[in-house]
């Protein structure tokens, strides 16, 4: 028994002596909630950290509207060395576990996207559910947005993007989703494109092809939803349509709220030629309509036809833009549906997707809804 107690004692002493390496008080941490990455002219990486400021000194906090952010910038050859330089400027330890937003500039995207992702992935403290977004120009101008809320700026921006997530999965921008697309054999990653000058900061999407193509797609609902239609699975998007009233012969305006839409691609290989069919399917209801129209069967038919034509036009434009920007969204979907055909095509002509025939099957369905108003849209 004595021997066991002795051993236990020795173990306890060793524990106390050799551990505590990870002990750090919460007030000694500089909690980073957002980061932005820029590339300087001499190919260094400039990292700006949005550090949450703790309201120090003064227990009763009278100035509620004070800025909660502290921005610290550091440069280095890689993210790690830049963070090291930031650490030198701070008296607290940099703590990345709470980071929610990573803003990349377009130069980072075009020059060192893969290595950047690698570094983000390797960092033990960073979580894969942080959002990765892109800004055209300098990334750190994102921090110039005036923050009216009490939460730190990075979290405010994150919430703005999350509002978009409700509309379409394309804006679900967590890092692991992007990596899932990026690491897949023929995948294309997409990231939200932020514009600090825009109304709600979200300008569109950026597509990055691992082979080097980058496409900037602006998204401006309710006029042009083409990019979103092409990506599919939207919810509650509004579309504005101009149509010809069958009874009065006049132009009418209408706003359709598409409850849920769905896009799939069909591939058919026939006589050495690939035919792609874009199937669009959506359920919507009329949210607003210019006055004086009779909402009967004929009108709905006309409305659905017009909506279908508009949607087809938007999607077609989008595909053309995609082709001109050298971003191939179809490679992965063809690989998934027909791997054999894909291999044959890739061997024969890697630019098959620029030449293939595209046909459209659009199924807009407008629900007769008693809730639709008759006020002008």
């Amino acid at each position: 028994m004595k021997r066991y107690w002795l051993v236990v004692l020795v173990m306890a002493v060793t524990c106390v002596v050799t551990s505590c390496g990870d002990y750090s008080e919460v007030e000694d941490l500089a909690v980073v909630v957002g980061m932005s990455m820029d590339e300087t002219s001499n190919h260094h990486l400039r990292v700006t950290c949005d550090i949450m400021r703790s309201s120090e000194s003064g227990s009763d906090n009278t100035s509620a509207n004070q800025n909660q952010d502290m921005l610290v910038t550091g440069e280095g050859l890689s993210m790690a060395s830049a963070l090291e330089n930031i650490q030198k400027k701070l008296d607290k330890r940099i703590y990345l576990s709470h980071n929610t937003l990573v803003v990349l500039s377009d130069r980072v995207i075009s020059d060192r996207f893969a290595s950047m992702l690698d570094e983000l992935e390797r960092n033990r403290e960073l979580r894969l559910n942080q959002m990765v977004v892109v800004v055209r120009g300098d990334a750190d101008q994102i921090w110039t947005i005036s923050n009216r809320s009490e939460t730190p700026l990075a979290i405010t921006i994150r919430q703005a993007i999350q509002n978009w997530e409700a509309c379409t999965d394309a804006f679900r921008a967590e890092q692991f989703r992007m990596l899932r697309d990026w690491n897949a054999p023929y995948g294309v990653a997409h990231l939200p494109w932020l514009d600090p000058q825009a109304a709600n900061w979200v300008a569109g999407l950026v597509f990055v092809d691992p082979r080097g193509g980058i496409a900037w797609w602006s998204i401006c609902p309710p006029r042009d939803n083409g990019a979103l239609w092409l990506l599919g699975d939207t919810r509650n998007l509004v579309q504005k349509i101009v149509f010809q009233d069958p009874y009065r012969g006049k132009e009418g305006q209408i706003c359709i709220r598409w409850g849920h839409t769905h896009t799939t691609f069909g591939f058919r290989y026939h006589k050495n030629k690939l035919y792609v069919t874009v199937n669009w399917w959506g359920n919507g209801y009329i949210e607003a309509m210019s006055p004086g129209h009779v909402a009967d069967r004929t009108t709905f038919k006309v409305l659905e036809d017009q909506a279908g034509r508009d949607i087809q036009r938007d999607i077609h434009q989008c595909i053309m833009r995609m082709r001109s920007a050298d971003v191939n969204l179809w490679r992965m979907s063809l690989y998934r549906t027909a791997p054999q055909l894909f291999r044959i095509l890739e061997r024969k002509d890697p630019s098959w997707w620029k030449k293939c025939d595209v046909s459209y099957v659009i199924h807009p369905h407008i629900v007769h809804s008693g809730l639709s108003t008759r006020s002008p849209g």
Partner: protein
Amino acid sequence: MRKEQISRYQLILLLIWLTMGTGVLVIPSVITEFTVTDAWMAVPSLFVGGLLSAGIARVHVKKFPNLRVTGALLATAGSAIGNVLIIWYVSVVFVVGTVVAREFTLFVTMVSLPYTSETAVAVIGCASVAYIAYVGIESFARANEFIVPLAAVVLPLLILLPLTLCDVHQFYPVFSSGWLPVWKASIVSMFVYGLEFSLAIQLVPNLRSPEKLPNDIVIAASISTVLILIVVLLTVGVFGYTVRYLQYPVLELIRVVRIGRFIERLDTIYGIAVLMTIISKLAVIHLAMCTGIQDLCKTRDYRWAVLPTGTAMFVGGLYFYRNVAQMAYFIEHVGPSYLLFTVVGVPLLGLTLQRVRFHLKRRARKGG
């Protein structure tokens, strides 16, 4: 000394923890090394391995309903060669234990305490495992039962939450490159984790109904196969090919869950659950080793061996596998044939020796 006995339910729980402990960490990354989209097809191999173990267990309990592996080796191969075989068996269990101990320190270090020395982590692990082994299998099995209701609450949560992030497209195309990668991917789970079930044979004297051991192994194998299958499906569905770049895919799976503003950062719950299962696994391995040594030294109790061998196991883990790569190499490239030889080959050797001795004796009797 009172005989310690465990019920069938307790045994099944122990066996499930035995595979899940490190299997849930290692199997997904081993399988996805070879194939990602078809990873789920490689998981049932664990069940096949379990069947293999169950078959061996069946033979064992038919012939020796009251003996453990080491006892049976002694009975079949005679005292001299039997002792050699026992030494081999104990050394294999020891090496398996070092791997698991190394995984324990590695897991804690990577997940929670990166700046704490691995020695300190090993010391607390060793202390807890030694305590469990010292207390004995019966109390430990009861403690497992006590944890089950808790696990029943947490486990569905851990499974359901990542389900919302899952993407079915990640499983297409099916059979992207044929059967060969699937076969290669299933070897480790079949011959390393499936054969680990045979450690239960070492517990035969402690079973209330040893004749049901093969059935219990099959039940435990099927449950753990289903659990691992769920895990593999989830990891691949959430991460796709990124799985290959992650050290612990399952952990990252829980780390990315974020629902609403507050349901996130659940990875520590998961980490603690894994920690508990690894400790359970280590405790079973340690008990098997200690009882083997007990048979070797022919003492009435095994408890004297708990502390020295436990310490040796943890230090051995640190000493044998300096880094993750060495350990992964050992598990993937040495493990399958090593365990296959030990679990199937050594008992066969024992049986052959028994036959030979039997014939020799008969001939001697006839001749004399």
